[in-house]
Symmetry: C2
Subunit: 131 residues, 2 copies
DNA sequence: CTTGACCTTCCAGTTGATGGAAGCCCCACA
DNA sequence: TGTGGGGCTTCCATCAACTGGAAGGTCAAG
């Protein structure tokens, strides 16, 4: 199977698949003409990667997860640990964004947004952290 | 004022301040010895930048906001527009992370996390999007 | 006069791709 | 047989926003 079809099936751009090969996440065979030749197994791995990336796992996490995925004698605890750490990072990030959102929404609400120069948003940004 | 003191006062690493000069966000004077020599005004701009960055504004947004900040004849509507767009991006990002969090939290809950190999997390990642 | 803190510039690396150029390969159609 | 087009190849550059580190100048204290 050529890269175009694989791209379609796993939902990743061809460019990304080549990149994943570069960094050693997949190792497709090669046809005589030099084209990459993907087996079903490669497509599964790429689909797995696509899903893991879409859940926000880093490439290095994906590498670890893929290794566990292929290791029939893995301990699910190892998988769970990776996932829990990632979940914690996501939750921290959400909290951070919510804090930003709170501050920013407040400033935006207080700005009348007309053609006059006075602006609580700029004042809020300029203020030396007394708030 | 030397860069170290400025860094302390505005809450940005010296390295970052140099970077901001590189990309033209500040233009501190120079002393005879070649050291950067910051005026109060520079410190204010850097503090402004620090706050804006901590609210997640991109460097280009910061550049625009800084320009508005220094323009006494600005229209607050221009500031508000930038802020609203950024707010929308933040909210979209929160939604995205919450979706990830939902899926991931579910998988984590269902994984027993012991030394056996069967693992709903890996199964969830491998599944070809029927869920 | 030396030590150590602070400053300088410059170059490389981070993350995860993405864009584009230059150039094969292959198939169909005239 | 040639030509066109789409798909494939590699390689290099670029994005954001820094950050780390090397090599070296400056300055104040002891």
């Amino acid at each position: 199977m050529n890269i175009g079809e694989v791209a379609e099936r796993c939902g990743l751009p061809a460019k990304t698949i080549r990149y994943y090969e570069d960094i050693g996440l997949v190792r497709p065979a090669r046809s005589e003409n030099g084209y990459r030749s993907f087996a079903e197994r490669d497509v599964h791995k790429l689909t797995f990667l696509s899903r893991a990336r879409s859940l926000g796992f880093s490439i290095e996490d994906c590498r670890a997860l893929l290794e566990l995925y292929e290791d029939r004698s893995r301990a699910s605890a190892d998988v769970k640990r990776v996932a829990e750490q990632h979940l914690a990072r996501i939750q921290a990030k959400i909290a951070e964004l919510e804090a930003m959102q709170g501050t920013l929404a407040d400033l935006v609400t207080r700005c009348h947004g007309d053609d006059r120069p006075d602006c609580p948003i700029l004042e809020g940004l300029a203020r030396q952290r007394e708030a």
